[in-house]
Symmetry: C2
Subunit: 446 residues, 2 copies
């Protein structure tokens, strides 16, 4: 534990997903799924490395890389004992450089960099404990969990004392819920069928394959063309039958009034939730939409910048489903804060996944939530997207439509060395031919 | 107008302000005021350059520089006619790269970069029209002004039609208000006296000097130490006498309940507004504070990330004073949106200034607001801080406590070549000795 941090190396990794329109939606026509990937090294070669990352979609990933380097500078020379002995204090230290804070605060590029570094520290901490992150966290006492959170801006919605009570109530059931997870895994839904760039025939085929594979909840991308959305929802509903769940996702392209009007044209297809109907910054807008599309739920979170905005979404009753992201907020500490706020307000967390390695990360958060925070799987499922898992050393394992509980020590964040080498931007062989990712041809539209 | 953009050059400029604790407050103990400075060049040497920037406070400025380069790439090859012929479309184009948008959206580093580029385009447009920016904007018809704004997320609070009516109502008085500005300038208040790093004797001396110089409104930094704040407020009030205005600014260090309690200990000093009491992201928190400290006003805005958050602050009646920043939101277009929202909701705009060149920029926004949007100076004043003006080619001109209307064409954004050369980071002579700005020793505290 006296070993010192000697390097926080950050790599720009990009996958050319835009070539197949995987991941296409109404806002993001041609993403190249990417990551700022962090490796945390100490001067003791016998210790494991910490691995973490944040997720981006192509151009500008170098900003997240540089942000992670700047935040990571604050770790240099710290001992491992200092890193993992007070993980709450560590988070405040990493976010506490006022010059860097000015660039956010606690949002956008600088917060993406924070997330990558924080995630790497937690990966290291869990590895040192010899446990997968979800079990490592589930071994914290209620007080230790409360101490992980920065309460400065949260106390008006949840006091540390109330959080402590909430956690203490769930403590007796932890062991049996860990058993349950190890045996049955955690439920999921799939987004793989419904990308906007897929034609009707491909959509129908993928929906049918999903149903055949046992999925009972599917999400479609909408928001670009109302007539096409009606056609696509009809296809999906006809394949799903009346019992399975259909969710829709507009990826922020609509205004508040427009979102309600758009939804009404699709309501006949029995939509379970309406995701990202408008700007992720619009707490009051989401609240207005939620009141008007009930009983369909409003879902958002993948772009919710930090716990302060989540807090307000809960206070305003704007959210039916909380789609916490593992990299958009400032890593594990802030994710724990959001899980506590969600549980205290009775909102189920269905984490955002897909992208690069987000499935790998959020499974830990959802499982920890089940064991120690909400204590429930009701209304909860983890997003699943079936791509890019092959680049991870400890990829998610699915059984039918359920995530199996990860067992390897750490946060499942480590990428394969050969994947890193191949996709490093701009000099990896995947990119060496093109020099630059797909040219900027898209407009803002609308 | 057929000239094409051939370069968007961005420079990292930093001033070593931390050496004197100018600009110190409860959150920002030792800022080095900095900028990502943009020069927009065309292939026609007879045309003026466009100058713009965004403001940062030291470490991480290279992120804003790179963000401006990435956003600026989208201008390359466009003709000047395309740039200035549809400035609303130009803004949507600059913010419409979905891969870059993922890094915000419309917030943090990527939006700071957008601001720098957008401000440079408007500087060029005003220079081509031969007018200072405030008069250039004041020459737009109501419809042209409405067309400058991206309405996607704003219509639930203000429709373009209602904005058009608002602007049309102010149109007949424009000429007389322009005359008024040219003769009398625009009122201001000063922050130069009240930085947290100054001792009591310096505070008293600077307050007295400000009163002697004709200032009738002064702002103090608070939030680090309640007893010290009571002492400092007592000093300021005793020098100001009962008639002049005293404002306080906590720079975001307090939680919601804590801010109300803190304020109550200072209320006896007759505080006109309480600025940045808590997280800039907390719309509902500001609304709760506003309801409980009335008739003292809540002020915020220098960290308000975009028009969507301003919209909600107005909807929630959270703001008594709107402190629009010229560089935090995405440049002139979004500033116009905020001015319209503020006027429609009856909230006076008192722009945030200080920093590097913010006084130079916001004077144009406040004056345009007076001429064409709110039509009023009631409850309005521009922040004034007396440093770094010497680095600008067209610095603000003060007469007593009033800004005189700028008359040179453009947005007053151009820095002196010798200032740029001296302060370029890391290779300018000011920095060459130190290699790095002041080391990172501060914590997050609290």
């Amino acid at each position: 534990m006296t070993a010192k941090v000697v390097a926080v190396d950050v790599t720009d990794v990009r996958f050319p997903t835009s070539r197949e329109l995987d991941g296409s939606d109404a806002m993001n026509e041609a993403p190249d799924y990417s990551a700022a990937y962090v490796v945390l090294r100490t001067d003791d070669a016998a210790l494991p490395e910490g691995h973490g990352f944040t997720f981006t979609i192509g151009r500008g990933t170098e900003l997240a890389v540089r942000a992670a380097q700047l935040v990571g500078e604050r770790l240099r020379g710290m001992t491992v004992a200092e890193l993992v002995g007070d993980l709450g204090g560590l988070w405040r230290h990493l976010t506490g450089d006022s010059q860097l804070r000015w660039l956010g605060p606690d949002k956008g590029v600088i917060h993406l960099g924070t997330a990558a570094v924080v995630n790497a520290v937690w990966d290291l901490a869990a590895k040192l404990a010899g446990q997968p992150l979800w079990r490592y966290l589930a071994g914290f006492s209620p007080q230790q969990l409360v101490d992980v959170v920065d309460w400065r801006y949260l106390r008006d919605a949840l006091t540390p004392e109330a959080a402590l009570e909430l956690l203490a109530r769930q403590e007796p059931g932890r062991t049996s819920r860990i058993e349950h997870l190890l045996r049955h895994g955690y439920p999921a839904y799939t987004t793989s069928a419904g990308w906007l760039g897929y034609d009707d025939a491909k959509l129908r085929r993928l929906c049918q394959e999903a149903v055949d594979a046992g999925w009972d909840a599917i999400k479609l991308k909408v928001g670009a063309d109302l007539e096409a959305d009606r056609r696509r929802c009809a296809i999906a509903r006809s394949v799903l039958g009346p019992e399975r769940r259909l969710m829709i996702d507009a990826n922020q392209v609509l205004g508040v009034e427009e979102a309600v009007a758009w939804f009404r044209e699709l309501a006949e297809f029995d939509v379970y939730w309406f995701e990202e109907p408008t700007s992720p910054d619009d707490v009051l807008g989401h609240a207005a939409i939620a009141a008007r599309i009930s009983p369909t739920l409003v879902a958002t979170g993948e772009h919710t910048q930090n716990a302060v905005v989540f807090k307000q979404l809960f206070q305003a009753k704007a959210l039916g489903v909380c789609q916490l992201d593992a990299c958009r907020v400032g890593g594990v500490n802030e994710a724990v804060a959001v899980l506590l706020l969600a549980a205290a307000h009775g909102v189920p967390v269905c984490p955002h996944a897909g992208g690069v390695g987000l499935c790998e990360l959020v499974q830990h958060l959802a499982m920890f939530d089940f064991v120690a925070v909400s204590g429930s799987m009701e209304g909860r499922m983890i997003e699943y997207v079936d791509h890019l898992h092959e680049h991870f050393v400890d990829p998610v394992r699915m059984r039918g439509s359920r995530y199996l509980a990860p067992t390897a020590p750490g946060y499942s964040a480590r990428m394969r060395p050969e994947s890193l080498a191949a996709h490093r931007f701009p000099d990896g062989p995947i990119w060496a031919d093109t020099a630059q990712p797909a040219a900027t041809t898209e407009g803002r539209g609308r």
